[in-house]
């Protein structure tokens, strides 16, 4: 078990390095460098050289990358913001990330506790009107992006009915609409996946055996079908949490939620690279770690995965 977990963690390291390199390179692709952005077009040569030195941009790109990664790994230093009076990016992350995390986690909980039961019920009542209704609803929800659901909810629930606040992030009431806007699509995806997985399991011979030896239907489903059908669903939980984190870029913009998504989109218009780079890297790392967690959990729950690995 321990070797399995260690192996997974070691395998994730090259991916983390490659992803950080990718983010770093993309940020360097920008047509105008950070120094020109800070100083404007009329900058003198001396000023450019001074700032280049200050930000370490006069060093070779490999050294710049290593410095950046070392800064993050050793003291959580993501560089400084250009536009916010040199405020450290790590400080902005500390401020904004809890908000995004809260939003993503509550959307995840919503998606899980609505999507999974609906998927299970739809599979158990396969081809019934309930199943058809759910699946039509699922395709509809998968097709409707958060920036359609969000504004429509704002117009009808917040503005017309005045049941909930329009935008902001002050009390729990403010979190309801963003959570629904963010989580509904994931709920639909989870429901669809859960349904097809359970339908697959219900066709298996061991389910027929369980029923044939006289187990009640409820007991068969609870003891044999559900556990096995949940395994494939586990694999998409990591991806789906990552989707929620990036989805929060859109939802935070709609509802003006002060999280890392809102901050990143604002920083893009100000061309504040260290902020964009830091936030993107943070989300990518969390995405990889979430998938790693799911991977390990999968091995812990399903001994077949571990033994396959051992061979």
């Amino acid at each position: 078990m321990l070797t399995f977990i260690l192996k997974r963690i070691l395998l994730a390291i090259p991916t983390l390095i490659a992803v950080s390199l990718l983010v770093f390179m993309i940020a360097r692709l920008a047509p105008s460098g950070p120094v020109e952005i800070i100083l404007g077009e009329k900058a003198t040569k001396e000023n450019v050289a001074r700032l280049n030195k200050e930000y370490g941009l006069d060093k070779p790109i490999v050294v710049q990358y290593l410095n950046y990664i070392w800064g993050i790994a050793a003291h959580g230093d993501f560089g400084k913001s250009f536009s916010r009076g040199e405020q450290p990016v790590s400080e902005m992350i500390r401020q904004d990330f809890p908000v995004t995390a809260q939003l993503a986690i509550s959307a995840f909980i919503l998606a899980f506790f609505i999507g999974i039961p609906i998927g299970i019920l739809a599979a158990l009542y396969h081809n019934s009107w309930f199943d058809r209704l759910c699946m039509a609803g699922v395709v509809a929800l998968v097709s409707v992006p958060s920036f359609v659901i969000g504004p429509l909810m704002v117009v009808y629930i917040a503005v017309r009915l005045r049941w909930l606040p329009v935008s902001g992030w002050d009390s729990p009431a403010y979190t309801i609409l963003p959570t629904i806007a963010l989580g509904s699509r994931s709920a639909a995806i989870l429901a669809r996946f859960m349904r097809s997985s359970l339908l697959d399991v219900l066709k298996q011979d061991y389910i027929r055996t369980a029923l044939a030896k006289g187990l009640t239907k409820g007991r068969t489903i609870w003891r044999h079908a559900l556990k096995n059908s949940f395994l494939p669903v586990l694999t998409i939980l990591g991806t789906s949490f990552g989707g929620l984190l990036t989805g929060s870029f859109v939802v935070e913009t709609i509802f003006q939620v002060p999280g890392i998504g809102y901050e990143s989109i604002n920083s893009i218009s100000k061309r504040d690279y260290p902020v964009i780079q830091g936030m993107a890297l943070l989300v990518a790392i969390i995405f990889i770690l979430a998938n790693l967690g799911v991977d390990i959990l999968y091995g812990v729950v399903d001994p077949r995965v571990r033994s396959q690995e051992a061979q």
Partner: protein, 315 residues
């Protein structure tokens, strides 16, 4: 007994002539017949085809250009529908109906171009990786692993943000080119993996071995024997990816990173309308409806197509 049609299909009798129970048709024809029996798929197809026609003939269907500003009637505020502008005008005095119609052009145009990029890169690399194996395969798969380790919307946001970040203001057309590049880079790994997996499985089939044994050149094996058998999974993937790219384009445009004015995009129209949600909610409603219906049509049609092309899904 386990006499399920699916299992019979999966294990054909090895040394006997397969029993012919119905007049033989090509698999493609078979799929079309199955598809035509599905009313939902047909409705979606009609919707998609009409949208394509509307996008192509947009200038004939609209009274106003997408960037015509009716400034004599409206000053910097959206106006409700009236006799001249049947869906009203936006805050720049532009006709909403015209912009919705031209928006279809942008949405479909961008997603079709990106899908072509995806198919071109994805199929080529997938075939090479699956057929050659070895070092090429290993390197390509590691690259797709890294791309998959990245949430795709985040990568698209990052790319779009960086490409359009020059200090000079760029002409609006480049905003559409930016989308091609950003979404094209994000899109290909999925297709590469799909094609590689299929090619790996097909490579071991007898007919490929036979082709190789009779001295058919590798290029011909790839394009005349392997590729035609890969078509149905590719077609299904393309239909579903079209929906994905329409969503991605409108998401980026909503965030201000996609299509720039004066060009219209549904996502951008929704984003502009947010400011007037109290007084003119119809400005949010119409682009939202079109976007949702379009993505839904592609999703439903993609599902139906997959069922029709895969005979094992038959009940």
């Amino acid at each position: 007994m386990g006499l399920h049609t699916g299992q019979l299909d999966a294990v054909p009798p090895k040394f006997e002539e397969p029993a012919i129970s119905q007049p033989s048709t090509s698999p493609g024809r078979d799929a079309i017949i199955r598809l035509r029996k599905n009313p939902v798929a047909m409705i979606c197809l009609i919707y998609i085809l009409s949208l394509i026609l509307i996008a192509i003939f947009a200038p004939l269907l609209t009274h106003y250009d997408y960037d015509y500003q009716d400034s004599s009637r409206y000053a910097s505020l959206p106006a409700p529908p009236d006799h001249f502008h049947r869906l009203g005008t936006d805050n720049l005095g532009q006709d909403v109906l015209s912009r919705l119609i031209y928006g279809a052009r942008v949405s479909l145009g961008v997603s079709v171009v990106v899908v072509i990029i995806e198919v071109f890169i994805g199929v080529t690399l997938g075939l090479i990786a699956g057929f050659r194996s070895g070092m090429t395969d290993l390197v390509l798969m590691r690259v797709t692993d890294v791309m998959f380790a990245f949430p795709d919307l985040l990568l698209a946001i990052l790319l779009a943000a960086v490409i359009r970040s020059g200090s000079q203001a760029l002409p609006p057309v480049t905003s559409i080119l930016t989308l091609f590049v950003a979404l094209g880079i994000v899109g290909w790994p999925g297709m590469t993996r799909l094609v590689r997996g299929q090619a790996l499985a097909l490579r071991e089939k007898e007919y490929i071995e036979a082709a190789r044994a009779t001295g058919v050149r590798e290029k011909n094996i790839l394009f005349r024997h392997l590729l035609p058998n890969l078509l149905s999974p590719i077609i299904v993937q393309v239909t579903q990816d079209l929906a994905g790219y329409i969503l991605a384009e409108s998401t980026l445009s909503f965030l201000g990173l996609g299509v720039q004015p004066p060009f219209p995009s549904w996502g951008q129209m929704i984003s502009n309308a947010l400011e007037y949600k109290d007084s003119q909610p119809q400005l949010i409603f119409f682009p939202s409806l079109l976007l949702a219906l379009t993505v839904m049509a592609f999703n439903f049609f993609g599902d139906a197509l997959r069922d029709a092309l895969d005979p094992r899904m038959r009940k």
